[in-house]
Symmetry: C2
Subunit: 282 residues, 2 copies
């Protein structure tokens, strides 16, 4: 049992990302499961995973998962990182003895529940799109997916240009990406009615997507879908919120925590507090 | 002597970057010193250096420099990476026995030769700005510098949105950054007449800067200034071009070479050819 935490204050949920974008998933988890305790690890020393080989990503992600399960006592692991979910979920599951949930399956399941056309658009980073993990997860559920890489959106979010009125460049960029994706979908004979936000940074652009997406298109946030599925599996419900005045969250990072501390609170919607530095080697 | 290269075909210049942005420096070097042979290493497995600690960057950069000097026979090393130049130049010089030149000193020297107002703007990545290496190098030359981080410019270049007519978002973003930088300069009582491009990606945006910079502002490209200084120190001149029909360039990377091969030719202005994978550990 990790010191400073009480034995009777609910299970520890481990949340892992290569950086701090996964804090949007943690935000959704805290909202859904306020009675749980959370340990978040950002493997900031080794990000971005997207430019690395599958073998390297699997090794890094497995080490990170072991830190959360073995050293922080996590009883359930959420992989709040699209790249690791796409390329290393099996390796992570092999490395720890607790259940593991990635962000892609819940996102695809929510898309399947939303789409009546059975056609969806998935926007994500280059690495996630290159893995075609969302397309595969959608196909398993009878959905056709057009995946579109939007490499400018993460830096726009990190720059803080998330308000469509103050920063009109951002809706302009989103409109360009969505138009390209819709053109590609039409050329393939698809009529998408659902947009999947396949990157942990994108929930911060929700106001921009709502303004730029075509009329009637539903927006699926993988973070929310993942929190929903976690709560279902762990068996905790938001009702316990009343007993729990403040979320119990510890944040860890593997290198320079400055950017994490500076930007993290915007992603989490709560102060991230002091980020603790850990050394996983490598 | 490294196999496949003739002993009498000029010195080997080693060029190092954490990624492939430094290919713009290699481009300037090839133009200035066509008779030389070049070995370029992108430490793509461990990029970006900008989010890592000084000690980690120094270790990575030293290992990369040793690969170029000891395994590729480089007789002169160009550190075509602003972060490594800012944070690890001493560590690199200690790790090898050949002369080493970074991009920051030549950039600052060119700015000093250009500015009559003795006030300059330096635009760069967040990591380079946070190091204040350009401000220090400018101060040593009697210049006052306002440094401005422009985190959206690298992704805009990598997205290929470099033509101001086809992609009006890019000049819009550059205009926002330059206006913020000029406001900050004015508030400090500066009147900058020179703009230093302090990032190896920015030469691809030259047409955008020329269109958006205030009338009369001179633009200094650190890549060109570094090539000029390298040629002066190594003692080769462009006149030898006549004898040398094609540049002799070998490119190495430490991980997935796909993005390097796909984008590299745009940066180099020549086909990068086959990128060779090397393992530096870590």
């Amino acid at each position: 049992m990790e010191p400073g935490r009480e034995a009777d204050s609910g299970p520890v949920i481990g949340v892992f990302d290569s950086g701090f974008g996964g804090l949007t998933v943690l935000k959704a988890l805290v909202k859904r499961m306020p009675g749980a305790r959370f340990a978040f690890l950002g493997d900031t020393a080794r990000l971005p995973y997207g430019s690395k080989s599958r073998r390297t990503i699997a090794r890094y992600a497995a080490e990170s998962a072991q830190f959360l399960a073995n050293q922080q006592g996590a009883e359930f692991l959420v992989i709040a990182c699209n790249t690791a979910s796409a390329l290393a979920l099996d390796a992570i599951q092999d490395a720890v003895s607790v259940p593991v949930l990635g962000v892609i399956e819940p996102g695809a399941a929510a898309a399947a529940a939303s789409s009546t056309a059975r056609d969806v658009l998935v926007i994500a980073t280059e690495a996630t799109v290159a893995s075609h993990a969302y397309a595969a997860a959608c196909r398993e559920r009878g959905l056709r997916a057009v995946e579109k890489a939007c490499p400018l959106l993460v830096p726009l979010v990190e720059e803080g240009w998330v308000n469509p009125v103050d920063h009109p460049v951002t809706p302009e960029v989103v409109r360009i990406y969505l138009n390209e994706a819709l053109e590609e979908a039409r050329a393939a004979g698809h009529s998408p009615d659902t947009l999947v936000l396949g990157c942990t940074h994108y929930p911060l652009l929700r106001a921009v997507f709502e303004r730029t997406a075509p009329e009637g298109m539903r927006i699926i946030d993988s973070a929310e879908a993942t929190a929903e599925e976690t709560a279902r599996r762990v068996g905790l419900v938001a009702a316990s919120r009343a007993e729990s005045p403040a979320a119990d969250i510890r944040c860890f990072a593997t290198d320079s925590v400055e950017k994490f501390e500076r930007l993290g609170s915007r992603f989490l919607g709560l102060p991230v507090g002091k980020v603790e530095l850990v050394d996983l080697g490598g």
